[in-house]
Symmetry: C2
Subunit: 106 residues, 2 copies
């Protein structure tokens, strides 16, 4: 068989096909994350409005502690660093607080 | 009708049922987020190992810029603050870099 029938390596300008496949999965996952986060913020916005109407306090430290404990446990089961899941929840809660402050005209 | 047949308000010790329902949705969403993130880190770990084997550079600023532009667009469509989606991707990428540094024995 002549050597030129063998697949030639992709030129440097073409993306690596293995890397391109990984990136497609990451892009799909990121789109899922964005849409799930959008829904989460829709719910926390409704919670903020409900708490204001029902004159419930905006923050609930006991609830937060339970959420963190639960997410750390879920993370361990999913082989994700529990420290990261706690950082992640705090990152999201900070954004929720920012939204509530903005809604209050801040 | 005697007044005592009317539903009495939940005692202060009992959780508000509307709030409890919102929180159930948030807890379901958070479990989904944790599992999707766990899968994302599994893929970025494989990417890190592949890049090391294929002697590809660990960072790719063009790819990051394309990811950010795409997520900002998806966020707008999902009614999520595009600034937040960019902050979120940077938060995740920082964690990926931390994982890679740890894997390199840092």
């Amino acid at each position: 068989m002549p050597q030129d029938t063998q697949p030639s390596p992709a030129p440097a300008s073409q993306p690596d096909p293995v890397l391109a496949s990984f990136r497609k999965s990451i892009d799909n996952i990121d789109a899922a994350l964005i849409h799930i986060l959008a829904e989460r913020f829709r719910i926390t916005q409704a919670v903020g409005e409900y708490k204001a109407r029902a004159t419930l306090p905006p923050a609930d430290p006991d609830r937060e502690a339970r959420q963190i404990a639960r997410l750390r446990k879920l993370s361990e089961e999913a082989d994700l660093d529990p420290e990261f899941s706690e950082k992640f929840l705090r990152f999201i809660i900070d954004e929720v607080i920012r939204h509530h402050e903005k809604a209050r005209g801040g």
